[in-house]
């Protein structure tokens, strides 16, 4: 069954590529073996076959058979639209292509990467790196463990709006969102989708790991317009970036501890120079932006770090510590 279908589809492709003029469905039925004689059965099978070819990316064209007979639809595939254009790669170029295909291994686009390599090999390109010297010791990978990645990529590719349930940071309940997706970006190892939030009437960025349940299309392909000049990386970057560090904290750190704070210190007084410091302690000044986040961070150092100033930071840290004691 499946073999007969493969044979039929193969003949159909060759038939459609071999003609310059449009062929009617009836002409195709005559030329390609394997179609039933019964008109309704043929029509159904031919419709399915056309759909399969389109899904494979075969550019099936339809048009009028002749200017005099505009009611009769004909079919053809133009060689120029079908064929991969001439592509010649130097050995070093082909080698990085092989490395690129490995990036997606076991991730959402792995099949697509393998399909692309197959076609490039078919074009005479050898993507293997036989001596393995090109990139000794580099192993790049991207994972797409978030189930939302696949549907969102399809939505971005086909320009379709989506709806999904989203739990914003710190919120206890998820909310329904409708988004015109502009792109997906991986930043610091996390996937984000950026676009126009129809409910909020504003640009929004969502973390894929916080999407709960299924992502559904809420409009037909082509119904999303990405504003000209949109740089999705930049949209995600500006959403994710840390606000300027406008505040300054004075901290006392035990000797040999608090590296995670010392790295960002703008000022440091050795223990001996600080008049109020006990032996084995340093005093540093560190800039910070958000008091809540910074208090969390300082609290994580426990008894190794003490806030001297400002008082509201000191209070916030004490509150965290009391919470951990409870």
């Amino acid at each position: 069954m499946s073999r007969r279908k493969t044979e039929r589809l193969l003949s159909l492709v060759v038939c459609l590529l071999s003609t310059r003029r449009y062929l009617t469905a009836e002409q195709i039925r005559q030329a390609v073996a394997g179609y039933p004689d019964q008109p309704e059965a043929f029509k159904r099978m031919f419709e399915r076959d056309k759909e399969e070819l389109r899904e494979l990316g075969i550019p099936l064209e339809t048009g009028a058979i002749s200017p005099l007979d505009e009611d009769v639809t004909g079919y053809r595939v133009q060689r120029q639209a079908y064929e991969l254009p001439e592509l010649r790669l130097e050995p070093d170029e082909a080698a990085v292509l092989g490395l690129a295909a490995r990036v997606w291994r076991h991730a959402e686009l792995a099949g697509a990467a393998a399909g692309a390599l197959l076609k490039l090999r078919a074009a005479g390109i050898d993507t293997d790196d036989p001596d393995g010297t090109a990139r000794q010791g580099i192993e790049p990978r991207v994972h797409t463990t978030e189930p939302a990645f696949g549907p969102l990529w399809e939505a971005v590719r086909d320009r379709r709006p989506v709806t999904f349930s989203y739990r914003a940071a710190g919120r206890s309940d998820p909310a329904r969102r409708e988004l015109e997706p502009w792109g997906v970006v991986n930043r610091h190892g996390r996937w984000y989708v950026a676009g126009w939030d129809r409910g909020r009437d504003a640009v929004r960025v969502f973390r894929l790991s916080r999407i709960e349940g299924a992502v559904r299309f809420s409009g037909p392909p082509g119904s999303v317009t990405v504003p000209a000049g949109t740089d999705v990386r930049e949209v995600v970057r500006s959403w994710d970036s840390v606000p300027p560090r406008e505040h300054t904290a004075v901290l006392r750190l035990r000797h040999g501890a608090g590296y995670g704070l010392r790295r960002y210190a703008t000022g440091r007084q050795a223990a001996a120079e600080a008049p109020d410091a006990a032996v084995g302690w340093d005093t540093i000044t560190v800039p910070f932006s958000d008091i809540g986040w910074f208090a969390d961070h300082v609290a994580s150092f426990g008894a190794d770090v003490v806030v001297i100033d400002p008082p509201d930071l000191r209070d916030a840290v004490i509150r965290r510590l009391k919470g951990a004691l409870a």
Binding site: P85, P140, H143, R216
Partner: protein, 330 residues
């Protein structure tokens, strides 16, 4: 509206997939001077028998109208494939949007990888592929993987140098979980770029094991005048299984976090995550070292609590009490 398609892995080849293969097979042979059955079967991941079946199917294609003719003529006598007539399918099909995007997104990511010296090959192949893909290359601009740059280019340069010259390195490495700057000698194995972060994989002579070092946590690096010597028992990390795998000796930790602490479940690899209502989560994880969990518990304050093991919970209380004592006396 239609449902998005799921991934369709793990099934026998469908007619469509076999058709794709057949359409690639003809140009594969046509574009090469001498093509053997065995090599071609290997290139397509087929047995020779399956390949011969594909070739027979191609040879049998027949168009019946107006006059019957066989558009493809080929032979594979003596183990060499010759296609003397390929008719209209002598060139491969264009790249689909997914295919062009998979390669272009990956290539652009590689172009950002610090220390990759083949930048010129990368930009050349990106330009050629964009040209060949034509319109199908468009949507790839809407997917991007950003690669973090380590602080200062000195670290990456030294890592590359050590890998290329196969030298041992001395690292001053920050371990945030213990808030320690550690000193160690490492025999480099690979540079991994996983999820946009760069890691040096190497044999750590202090731990006597394979370890990963995040490049942005390397405080100092010296390339030693000593050849790297990675023992035969060293097994590279399987990057496809995730970088951090639990091991049998790990401690089971159970944490409960409020809505404000839910980020914990995203940030750390968890064994299970359970909703407790009101936005609270119960998170189970395994770790060889609980020091970082104590620090995490202090950071979370009232937004989290360690519920198991009991002694870890007691340590968190001690840590918090000791820290509070500094404020009481100060």
């Amino acid at each position: 509206m239609s449902e998005p398609k799921g991934r369709g892995a793990g099934h026998a080849a469908t007619s469509a997939e076999r058709l794709q293969r057949l359409l690639a097979l003809v140009p594969y042979v046509v574009s090469r001077k001498a093509v053997g059955l065995a090599d071609t079967a290997a290139a397509f991941g087929l047995s020779e028998r399956e390949l011969v079946d594909d070739l027979n199917m191609l040879w049998c294609v027949e168009l019946r109208d107006p006059d019957p003719y066989c558009p493809i003529d080929l032979s594979y006598e003596g183990g060499e494939i010759v296609i003397s007539q390929a008719e209209s399918i002598g060139r491969p099909l264009r790249l689909a949007v997914d295919e062009a995007s998979a390669l272009l997104v990956a290539l652009r990511m590689l172009a950002e990888v610090p220390g990759l010296e083949d930048r010129s090959a990368l930009s050349r192949v990106i330009a050629k592929l964009e040209a060949a893909a034509g319109e199908a290359a468009g949507p790839s601009a809407q997917v991007a993987v950003q690669v973090d740059r380590p602080h200062g280019d000195g670290v990456i340069g030294h890592v590359r140098e050590a890998l290329d010259r196969r030298r041992r390195v001395h690292l001053r490495y920050y371990v945030p979980g213990r808030d320690e700057a550690t000193e160690r000698d490492v025999d480099p194995m690979r540079l991994l770029v996983v999820e946009g972060r760069a890691y040096l994989e190497g044999w750590c002579r202090r731990a006597d094991g394979v370890r990963l070092f995040r490049l942005d946590r390397i405080l100092g690096i010296d390339v030693l005048d000593v050849p790297a010597s990675v023992p035969g028992i060293a097994r590279p990390v399987d990057v496809d299984q995730g970088l951090f795998r639990p091991s049998p000796g790990d401690v089971h930790v159970v944490l409960e976090v409020s809505a404000a602490g839910r980020w914990v479940a995203e940030y750390y690899p968890c064994e299970s995550v359970e909703e407790l209502g009101d936005g609270w989560l119960r998170v189970r994880l395994r770790t060889p070292d609980t020091q970082w969990v104590r620090r995490l518990a202090l950071r979370l304050g009232e937004d989290g609590r360690v519920t198991a093991p009991g002694d870890l919970r007691a340590r968190v209380r001690e840590d918090a009490a000791a820290a509070l004592a500094r404020y009481a006396s100060g």
